[in-house]
Amino acid sequence: MSGENGTISARQAARLLPKARFGGPIPWVIAILIALVVVAASGGLTLCNLMQNARADLSDAVTVQIIEANPQTRSERAQAAASALASQPLVTSVRIVPEEELVTLLEPWLGTSAASQDLPIPALIDVELSGRASAKEIDQLQAALDRAVPGTKVEADSSWLRPVYNALAAVQWLALALIALVAFLTAWAVWLAARNAFTNHRETVEIIHLLGGTDRQITRVFERSVLREAAFGAGIGLALGLVIVWLVGQQFVALDSGMIGGGQLGWKDWLVIAAIPIVGVLLSLITGRITISLALRAML
């Protein structure tokens, strides 16, 4: 069926250029690039989830540290501090970490000397708060403790994880940068392939031009090639990327770590990943269209 005046049907457009590959290896290049983006995006999303979950777990808790060489005094001061904390409205629960637990925690670093009375270990109190505490509220808590038990130190749990957060955020930015770089490479590859295809079919393009073909008609012919090749490449790339993500995911599952478990991808994340090949095809189409339009503008 023919189109309106000045248009050409899809079937006719398909016949104007030979069915040769759009750019030879271009579908495979797109496949590799899309697979890279899928892996990078999955990694970035995993890190994002991991950080959010860790923040949620840690932001409403503080640790009180009591440094005292004398075990007896340290124990008494810990009890006093726990009582003072329990009376604070922001505090929901208080737990003095048993010394045996502290020794167990330190043993990997200090060895059996951790259990020795010669090495003083500070008393630690885990404090759960009713919600995320601001820096001002932490300061108020510290002031209240100082009045009851001078020399204590209140630390928000999230603060000692800040370097970890910063490192994770840096990796996230790295993933984003990788995605941007791959998007640029995809556009570049399509640009090269489109120019190559245009050069190969220049004679046909000139004939179509001289017979009254419009830029839009000619561009549409090339767009069909871009669409076919990019869709093929994007599909392969998505499949390849998902296999890699699954294999890597299996390795992390084997770690059986609570923190890693917090990084699991949700359905929204999978939607984002599923959108990657679609965005890749659209990017290829737009790049192809611009490339061919610019090449046509150089002709009369």
Binding site: M1, N5, G6, T7, I8, I207, G212, G213, T214, L300
Partner: protein
């Protein structure tokens, strides 16, 4: 620039050079009128093909003014060129067939680009292929056609959309005398019955002699002479002999496609 409304083409002091080379065409000033039939002659290298390129809008002149169909082609935005090119039919010297398309699809190209209904394309192309004796080669690719067959496909493609201006560069160079005469009659039919202005560049003196009182534009080293008064207004219009066949229907100068007219035999082969 004042001009008569009936002018199809008007060149005013046109010059053309490629790059920094000398001008291949110099000081061309002439007018082509609707319904006229011109021969363009000249020795090899005289600039015939360059002049035809200006006529079929493959090239802009280096200087001077060109008006076609009442519009200034020098200032015409390139986005408007396709609509003007669709009013032209061109037989290229090297045929310029699309290699991967069949003879049928090559001939159909101008109609399809213009958005013609596929049913009409089918009939018109089959009739045209029949007329140039290529019905049996409709599915053949250009590379499998002889030079003469390719030339006939090129001519069929040029005339299929009933152009207002037909430009043919050595259109009978690869065909036998009988076919050459038949093609000339086809051009005359277009000229007489559809009102197409025809410009045929040729070396073939015998072909020109087939036309009584031919209008001849002669190029010599890029400059134009007017031995027959072809470029005067009104031109010394020659009567052309009657045209065999009914491809373009007697008296029809208005519209419709070859396959639409009474007397055209149905040729749906696809």
């Amino acid at each position: 620039m004042t001009e008569r409304a009936s002018e199809i083409v008007k060149f005013d002091n046109v010059g053309l050079r490629y790059g920094a080379d000398q001008e291949v065409l110099s000081d061309l000033s002439f007018t082509l009128f609707p319904g006229s039939f011109y021969f363009l002659t000249g020795a090899s290298g005289a600039g015939k093909t360059s002049l035809l390129k200006l006529l079929y809008l493959a090239q802009r002149p280096s200087r001077g003014g060109v008006r076609m169909f009442g519009r200034d082609m020098i200032t015409l935005p390139r986005t408007e060129f396709p609509s003007f090119r669709r009013r032209l039919g061109v037989v290229f010297q090297d045929f310029r067939l699309v290699e991967h398309l069949s003879a049928f699809d090559n001939v159909a190209l101008p109609l399809r680009l213009a958005g013609t209904d596929e049913g009409r394309v089918l009939k018109a192309v089959n009739d045209m292929l029949d007329w140039v004796n290529l019905s049996h080669r409709a599915e053949a690719r250009p590379e499998t056609l002889s030079g003469g067959e390719q030339q006939r496909v090129a001519i069929a493609r040029a005339v299929i959309a009933r152009p207002q201006l037909l430009i043919a560069d050595e259109p009978t160079g690869n065909v036998d005398p009988d076919m050459a005469l038949k093609l000339l009659r086809l051009f005359e039919a277009l000229n007489n019955r559809v009102g197409t202005t025809v410009v045929v560049a040729t070396h073939d003196v015998q072909l020109i002699q087939k036309v009584p009182e031919p209008l001849i534009m002669r190029l010599n080293k890029g400059r134009l002479s007017d031995p027959t008064g072809a470029l005067r207004y009104p031109p010394a219009r020659a009567k052309t002999p009657s045209v065999p066949g009914n491809l373009f229907g007697a008296g029809d100068k208005s519209g419709g496609r070859p396959g639409d007219r009474p007397g055209d035999r149905p040729g749906d082969r696809r």
